[in-house]
């Protein structure tokens, strides 16, 4: 029986959290189909404990391509690895993360393998009679939900947004196989060479895979006031986001921009302060699990999408939230 596969990503030798999320998706699909769940890891010197954690989180077989030349992602090389693996194992479904890596690699592989690919799925299910994969995804800025299938081509490929799936509780009694794939020199292309990494500016981490994101907009009035947003983010254990207006004014760096021309994110909690909720901003947060908004204008659009709204002056409301959070952590 053809397996269901996920593509696991690593960073600095560790399996990324999103890859564990994919295993939860894959496990459900594999169980419905009654087949095994495989996962592919491409990288260098990935510790055995990390590979075992894939099994603990739901994988039955782990396929590892481990080589110094695979230490960072380059599209052509990684694609060559996957194309070879697909040909050998013929997985029926392949799920990858909708990360910068997954969104680059999957379309490249889909062309080479003549496979159907659906981006950014929020729902994956198996159609009862046909056993086809039903892929549901938001489109047009999240204003419609489309369900897509790939009737005649295999594998059926999909990417899934980080943070859209709950990780299965690890089960150390689960067993599975770890298979190291023989390295083939044919995989390697020298067209892209990774020269290095530069960290994001400032103290703040990336919003892409954050659980909680606190964003500020033009309502913050000046750069200095953005410290309020940073403080709130830190107090809640989240990262800082911003509207385009805030980014264009230089109050926050572009990697933190949320929305149509910035990032689309699905945090568990999105907090927006001094953001009006323009359609282009909302396009980036349609799949956030929970939205809290602070705005002095009770007619602000952001409240249409929010689960909880505070109509008030952010300059008094945020300090009050901080005070409460502080008194809680002291308690």
């Amino acid at each position: 029986m053809h397996e269901v596969w996920t593509i696991s990503e690593t960073y600095e030798g560790r399996i990324k959290e999103v890859s564990l999320e994919l295993l939860a998706r894959g496990r459900a699909l594999a169980d419905t189909l009654g087949v095994a769940l495989g996962t592919v890891v491409i990288g260098y010197k990935i510790p055995k404990t990390e590979l075992n954690s894939l099994i603990e989180h739901g994988a039955d077989s782990v396929y590892v391509a481990d080589d110094p030349k695979l230490s960072s992602f380059t599209c052509n090389t990684y694609s060559n690895v996957l194309v070879q693996l697909f040909a050998a194992h013929k997985p029926q479904i392949v799920v990858s993360a909708a990360t910068t890596t997954g969104r680059t690699l999957m379309p490249y592989v889909a062309v080479k393998t003549h496979a159907g690919l659906t981006a950014d799925c929020t729902g994956l299910a198996i159609e009862e009679n046909t056993q086809n994969l039903l892929q549901t995804r938001p489109a047009i800025g999240g204003n419609i939900l489309a369900t897509i299938k790939t009737p005649d081509h295999r594998p059926q490929m999909a990417t899934v947004r980080p943070r859209s799936t709950k990780i299965l509780a690890p089960d150390s009694s689960r067993t599975g196989s770890i298979e190291y794939i023989p390295i083939s020199e044919d995989w390697f292309s020298s067209e892209v060479e990774v020269l290095g990494m530069r960290a994001l500016e400032g103290q703040q981490g990336a919003i892409d895979e954050a659980d909680i994101v606190v964003s500020g907009g033009k309502g913050l009035k000046k750069k200095d006031n953005f410290k309020l947003i940073e403080k709130l983010a830190v107090a809640l254990g989240g990262e800082v986001g911003a509207s385009r207006d805030a980014v264009d004014r230089g109050w926050e760096a572009y990697p933190h921009q949320v929305g149509l021309s910035g990032k689309t994110i699905s945090p568990r909690l999105y907090m927006a302060a001094g953001i009006s909720g323009a359609i282009q901003h909302l396009a980036g947060i349609k799949t956030a699990k929970c939205i809290v908004a602070i705005n002095s204008d009770e007619h602000a659009n952001i409240f249409d999408l929010a689960d909880f709204g505070i109509v008030g002056d952010l300059f008094t409301v945020i300090p009050e939230i901080l005070k409460r959070l502080e008194s809680r952590s002291e308690a």
Partner: protein
């Protein structure tokens, strides 16, 4: 140097409002624009042209009206354009679309650099760029935020990825997709507008680009849309008003109960790795 920029025509969304009752989009006009994220690809190409000198060609696939976005690109400073249009292209998914665009690029002649926007604002897949690179077996550099150095045979660029900026050196010819940080989009010039008006843009159909009929349109698309729903956007917002100390206190109690119920208040804030 020859650069080809791929652009898409998308529905204008900047003045779209949401219908609060039905949760659907109300389009004030049915006007179409260049996909806003493709403007950054045009800007990147024109910056290279300014600095190094280059011929910049633009290609779009779409119905008759799509010629408008090509004229706009010429008005911004692009040199020539091709319009791919054929009933047989209709219904193409990203796999088939990327095949059609790749065929057109082959016909025009493989350039040194192909530039695309990060994604289109309507389909929102970000798949077409990398897929074209795959058809042409070119290296794909996605999420490019900065082009640092251009040589005859290579480009050094930065990519904005989750962990920060990754610096790469890519051999040409290559395909790159760019993000907003690449530059500030220029406006069309008067001279450009005149040129756009005067220029005649060739139209190519499936036959012209020697497309395999089984690879294009709905028939050639591996994926099928089987259902479209319009999710309700409203989330039944609990709204609290803060006007004075008393209402602040009520609002805070209510907010903290809300956050606590949903497990957002792990003590001290738990940061995920």
């Amino acid at each position: 140097m020859h650069i080809i920029v791929l652009v898409k025509q998308v529905p204008e969304t900047s003045d779209v409002q949401m219908d609060k009752e039905t949760g659907t989009m109300i389009r004030s006009s049915s006007s179409s624009i260049i996909n806003p994220l493709d403007l950054y690809a045009l800007e990147a190409a024109l910056t290279i042209k300014d600095v190094k000198g280059a011929r910049v060609s633009v290609i779009t696939m779409g119905p008759a009206g799509a010629i408008k976005v090509l004229k706009e690109a010429i008005a911004m400073g692009c040199d020539d354009a091709v319009h791919l249009t054929d009933r047989a292209f209709a219904g193409s998914d990203t796999w088939a679309t990327s095949y059609i665009l790749a065929q057109a690029i082959k016909k025009l002649g493989l350039p040194d650099l192909i530039l695309c926007g990060e994604r289109a604002t309507d389909g929102d897949t970000a798949q077409v760029g990398p897929a074209i690179a795959s058809w042409l077996s070119l290296p794909a550099v996605t999420y490019t935020s900065k082009i640092e150095q251009i040589e005859i045979n290579s480009i050094i660029a930065e990519r904005l990825i989750e962990e920060g900026y990754q610096k790469v050196k890519v051999a040409l010819p290559a395909l790159m997709t760019v993000v907003k940080e690449i530059g500030i989009v220029r406006l069309p010039t008067l001279k450009g507008k005149k040129k756009a008006m005067a220029s005649s843009i060739p139209q190519w159909n499936a036959h012209d680009i020697e497309a395999d009929p089984s690879f294009i349109g709905l028939k050639g698309s591996p994926t099928r849309v089987v259902k479209i729903e319009t999710p309700k956007v409203s989330r039944n917002c609990t709204l609290v008003h803060v006007e004075d100390e008393a209402s602040m206190s009520v609002a805070m109690d209510s907010l903290f109960a809300f956050l606590n119920d949903r497990d957002f208040l792990q003590k001290g804030g738990k940061k995920h790795a």
